[in-house]
Symmetry: C2
Subunit: 197 residues, 2 copies
């Protein structure tokens, strides 16, 4: 989801600077704003799984985040934190609602974005529901390809730890599973770099 900068400002949006590590909103807090990244990057995660950080997504300039709870008046299930010094745009809920009410094309974009989120989250749920570590990894890699985050025969831009965090496994388990998958020719590991075949 992306709304033109000038349009956000026109509707009363403001820009805010966020330092690295600063929290934009946290779990169980009430949504008040529509948020869009102007510069930097915002990390979205859940921290309630036995204190372990469970990364959901990372948002970069032009992308918005945190709409679902805003639209249905529920508390955030996630925490948003600046990964680096960033600037974000804030638009009050009422103004945001007015904006989409008066701009049909943006409303349609929002609809698609929400559909996309529902779709991707279900995909993640299916990864997690899978009891076998190997299957989880394969499904996770598949998802990356589908989301165009990686291409086949391109090294995967995540550390083993980052992969583990996203699929709910331990680093060691990821490593051992990757070894099995390599023997089955489903992934390739060259000089520690991981390739999906």
């Amino acid at each position: 989801m992306h709304i033109d900068y000038d349009l956000i400002i026109t509707y009363g949006g403001i820009a805010k600077k966020i330092s690295k590590g600063e929290i934009v909103f946290s779990e169980n807090s009430e949504p008040k704003y529509y948020y869009q990244v102007l510069s930097g990057s915002i990390k979205i995660y859940t921290s309630n799984i036995q204190g372990k950080e469970f990364v959901q997504d990372i948002y970069t300039p032009g992308q918005s985040f945190g709409e679902p709870p805003l639209l249905i008046d529920k508390k955030y299930l996630i925490t948003a934190e600046a990964q680096e010094e960033s600037v974000i745009l804030l638009l009050k809920k009422e103004n945001f609602m007015q904006l989409i009410d008066e701009h049909k094309e943006i409303h349609f974009e929002l609809t698609k974005d929400l559909a996309n989120r529902a779709y991707n989250t279900l995909f993640s749920a299916q990864i997690l529901a899978n009891p076998s570590p190997e299957d989880k990894i394969i499904k996770f890699l598949n998802q990356l390809v589908e989301k165009n985050i990686i291409e086949k025969n391109t090294p995967i831009p995540y550390t083993r730890q980052q992969i583990a965090n996203q699929i709910g496994l331990r680093v060691e388990t990821v490593i051992r599973s990757l070894n099995k998958l390599q023997k089955e020719n489903k992934v390739q590991i060259i000089n520690r770099k991981l390739y999906y075949l």
Copy 2:
């Protein structure tokens, strides 16, 4: 999500009878229609987890299902099957898009519905991401309360097997975990009926 019967018909929707066990759409197929239950009930599940059925949801008269992939032109991740003899309304994608384009209030309802789905699916993902069976069960029960499906001190309307299917555990594990939770006074089991405290 719910659209008025007459309106669906006006836009060219048709009703279709579905026998018990019949598939409305299945995983990896292309979305073509907007679907809404008229009578009976439709079960949504994923079957790809080692052949085990993973129930996502059950839809009853007046509710629609399967919109996210329809809106973003992706294949279904789920299978929809009639739990009993049912009648559903089908509306071609183009007509559906035209309908929401011409009815702003319905478009807003769709938006909220999608936000709700994204929210609920994330909640499910957080349940699954939790490594401890007890925590999964507690979070699952919490979700039921939040969705107003159950109230505290009301027997939970699911069999142990159904609970297990929704959180990715075995029946036996659910039973043994429930016993532990009872000892911790987090649930109550009276005459096999389960109460959430």
